[in-house]
Amino acid sequence: MLSSFGNIAIFAGVAVGIPAGTLGLALLLGRLLRVRRPHPAKDDTYESGMSTRGPAWVQFNVQYYLYALIFVLFDVEVLFVVPWALAYRDLDKGYGFAEIALFIAILLAGLGYAWRRGALEWE
């Protein structure tokens, strides 16, 4: 007898073990059968035939960080709403609804603030 997450652990074992085994066998077979003609040009970064300039690991648009920041905030808020949704049937409806309406109003105010400050504008 196992707990449910024990079941998931077994499945994880299957899901990793069988593909890994198959892949190992396939790679072994592949190594024996696969064409292998190494050439320095084959190890180049692919840029449609142009030779690359500089590394790809460079600074990128700050907008991505803004989305990530807002995401972290809102994703945590979802987790606060889930227990409420589960308990809603047993709550006093007026009280329960007023509570979540207030919560969502605050969320919307936050979204509105980010929107107005231009955090959601892509440039």
Partner: protein, 349 residues
Amino acid sequence: MIADLAHFSIGPDYWWVVLIKGVIVLGFLATAAAYLTLAERKVSAHIQLRIGPNRVGPFGLLQPAADAVKLLFKENTAPAGRDKLLFWLAPALMAGAAILAYAVIPLSGTTNVNGYALHWNMAHVNVALLYVLAITALGVYAIFLGGWAANNKYSLLGALRSSAQLISYEMAVAFALIGVVILAHSLDLEEIVNAQQHAWFIVMQPLAGLLYFVGALAETNRLPFDLPEAETELIAGYHTEYSSMRFGFYFLGEYVNMVTVCSLATALFLGGWLPLIPWIHSDWLGGLVGVMWFLGKASILLFLMMWIRWTLPRLRYDRLMNLGWKVLLPLGLLNIVITGSVVAARAAS
């Protein structure tokens, strides 16, 4: 909540039963992914007035096998400047996360086989919905790390776009699903399906269903949201540098993800295994019929995804982010308020 968390599992689960179920589900997912590639090519061909693959076996039915052999025997090239560990790990993570999410999806209702409660999923978890959302979210890491590890500018751009897109739509999806949780009063997928005995949730939650489906298209990087790949501008996006079986794993992950989101949509909105034509049979045969209903409904959704892919053009990136943040997210919040007030009004009357 605490009391609920105390009894996770109903009835004994023997480890060998779980093992057998795991092997079957893994085989099913791999086969489904392989044949979805064929279905995709057939559907696209017919939409474009072509025939599609028809040389390998009858109706091209052996094409997936031929593709797999081809992928294995292709030379495995990799860019010299890559991050070696992540370049190896990311495709495996993609396929692994996609497959693991399927562990809790119930293909049919619990059936009584000689006194043994047979669950039609790997694990009967009472927070199944959160589990699926959490595991599918791991796919973001696979795409971002994979694109970054390749040390290719196009890959990096694809990976950045992808992670921003995935997290944005993931949140809209999560808010949309709250309405379902309110009505079903549970996060357990089996109980959510059982709560739809009288009416499917697509009838009671049409807005949430629509939001979920749009979000699912974005989460699986399907057109019109396939910005991470956008082959006309980014070559192949995050998996430009992946070849041979590494590419195969990304491909497998993408198609298994499609199966997962369509199965989840079936369980949440289309009544899961509940039949349209009543069929009362309590033993394993009844369970198997339920599986057929479930897969039938999921197949319709899969076809819908392919139809959309080959009909609609790609969105521009700023439009995509605007749709996620300025339309889907407020609509998701609105759906919570509407559902909450309707439930409150019905309780009062």
